[in-house]
């Protein structure tokens, strides 16, 4: 009898702990699909836009990156690099895109982008300037 009560007590405690964990665990982070981001350390505002919409599957295409300071002044002397992948699948981009020099008004052209599967992609834009570097991360659902 005593064993039964102990077992019941343990079972109740387990259920209570499980419910408490469920209650206080934050929901998984939602992808932030916005086209404009503050860089990680807040040095830049970075906008990323495809040159073709909808974004094509399995075809090389270009994107435009626009870099400004947080107060909106175009950043014209940056060196940019782009990388990314599918975190859920553990693989990177199927191509190695390149980013050209400044085109005017803080705009830079990305060449050689290609996506080879549907789902959630992550794109990381690295911005280097003489005043410092920073990175902005974008989520993209295809």
């Amino acid at each position: 009898m005593r064993h039964a009560i102990t077992a019941l007590g343990i079972a109740v405690a387990v259920v209570a702990i499980y419910l408490a964990v469920q209650l206080f665990t934050p929901p998984p982070a939602e992808p932030d699909l916005g086209p404009q981001k503050s860089s990680a350390a807040g040095l830049f505002t970075v906008a990323l836009a495809p040159e073709r919409e909808p974004v094509p599957m399995n075809a090389l295409h270009g994107w435009t990156v626009t870099v400004t300071t947080p107060d909106g002044a175009p950043v014209t002397d940056a060196t940019l690099a782009i990388d990314g992948g599918m975190p859920a699948h553990g693989h990177g981009l199927p191509t190695a895109p390149t980013v050209g020099g400044h085109l005017g008004e803080g705009r830079y052209r990305v060449e050689g982008m290609r996506f080879n599967m549907g789902g959630l992609w992550e794109l990381r834009v690295r911005v280097e300037t003489p005043r410092g570097g920073d990175e902005a991360v974008f989520d993209l659902m295809l």
Partner: protein, 400 residues
């Protein structure tokens, strides 16, 4: 009238059942299915590295070369020996066999011109560069490039000249010399003047360009699945042979849904034209094979790549090479996703024919075995017995 009453009760129930038919496609699935159909295939990509890519005379000449067994060391091996015209241009063997046994499965050729990289490991960046490699591989044609140039001069001189201009002087050159031949053939090649080697390389490259022009004409035939998708695209209910049965639709839904096959087998060719490590086992007795990782160096140093002296493309047009991923752990034992069009009737499967049946392929995806090297992208998946049958039933709707 108790009978009538029962019937009246049954009809709405049946309608309700149809409404929740588990094999019915929702709107998003319908769009996905239409995107897999042949009618969604983009126009044939241009090949700027091959100026005769779309010249009919070059394609016709290429067809002649493709079936010519005399372009081999023993006069018995043609491209068509392994790429058999009545077998989807493949040979049903685990590994291709010319003069000897190769290490990889012969790939079918329909739609091959849509691939940015050729071979299972993508070690060629154009169809014409691809076509050159088996000609000199000792296990395939075992031919040499001077022998090829002599053969073209002897039998096809006029056809060649009409497409590519006059042949260079060849009479003073060795009968058999090439950089991938026997020791004697390699020595003979090295002994040739640089200008002669360049002239022979030009003829060799042009033979590849003609074969490529022919291969660009090999298209995927329409399948039952395409007729099904076409009816959906028109907003009609598929009828006749376009109507997929319940099991086939179930397989289709699994393919584009929980089975996640579509992650890699996507687009109208049912391939993402990319390279993946899916943990396919190594074949015992074969040398180490690192797949895509081992192909990058070969591709970059191939004198017949898009940036080489025999390419007709300006450097900026060599996009496959320019934007190629050159390093990273995920290249190790990564192999090209094959098209699944016609796959159901061409076992065995995988890059060295490791699996004899589609059932074995599905079991591979279910269990996601540890890869021999690198990291597999598979995580394993539970397929029911019915799900496995359904997937196979769907794959059979992709038969020509």
């Amino acid at each position: 009238m108790p009978g009538r009453r029962v019937l009246l009760g049954v009809l709405p129930a049946l309608a309700l059942l149809a409404a929740c038919d588990p094999t019915a496609l929702d709107e998003a699935e319908r769009e996905t299915v239409i995107g897999l159909s042949l009618s969604a295939l983009p126009a044939l990509p241009e090949d700027p590295s091959n100026r005769v890519a779309d010249l009919p005379a070059a394609a016709a000449f290429g067809a002649t070369l493709f079936f010519d067994t005399r372009l081999s060391a023993d006069g018995r091996v043609a491209c068509a020996t392994c790429h058999q015209i009545d077998r989807q241009f493949q040979d049903d063997r685990p590994r291709g066999e010319g003069l000897g046994l190769t290490e990889r499965r012969t790939m079918p050729l329909a739609g091959v011109a849509w691939s940015p990289f050729l071979f299972w490991d993508g070690r060629s960046d154009s169809l014409w560069a691809q076509a050159l490699q088996p000609l000199e591989d000792p296990r395939e044609h075992g031919f040499t490039r001077t022998a090829l140039a002599h053969e073209i001069a002897a039998r096809y001189g006029e056809r060649y000249a009409r497409i590519f201009g006059p042949l260079p002087a060849l009479d003073h050159l060795p009968a058999a010399a090439g950089p991938r031949g026997s020791a004697a053939e390699r020595a003979a090649w090295q002994a040739m003047a640089a200008a002669d080697r360049a002239a022979v390389d030009r003829v060799f490259a042009n033979a590849g360009k003609a074969i490529a022009a022919f291969e660009r004409t090999l298209r995927h035939p329409e399948t039952r699945f395409d007729r099904f998708a076409a009816a959906l695209a028109r907003g009609e209910t598929p009828t006749g042979d376009a109507a997929l049965d319940g099991l086939e639709r179930e397989g289709l839904k699994l393919f584009i849904g929980k089975g996640a096959c579509i992650d890699c087998h996507n687009g109208p060719r049912l391939t993402d034209e990319h390279f993946h490590n899916t943990g396919v086992p190594a074949v015992a007795g074969l040398p180490d094979d690192t797949g895509r990782a081992g192909a990058i160096g070969a591709l970059e140093t191939d004198p017949f790549n898009c940036l080489g002296p025999h390419s007709d493309a300006p450097a900026e047009a060599c996009t496959a090479l320019r934007f190629m991923v050159r390093q990273g752990a995920e290249l190790v034992r990564a192999y090209k996703t094959p098209s699944l069009r016609g796959a159901a009737s061409r076992p065995p499967y995988m890059h060295a024919g490791q699996y004899a049946t589609l059932e074995a392929v599905i079991e591979h995806y279910a269990t996601a075995p540890e890869p021999p090297a690198g990291r597999s992208e598979l995580t394993g998946i539970v397929f029911t017995e019915r799900g496995r049958k359904a997937l196979i039933a769907f794959l059979k709707t992709l038969e020509p």
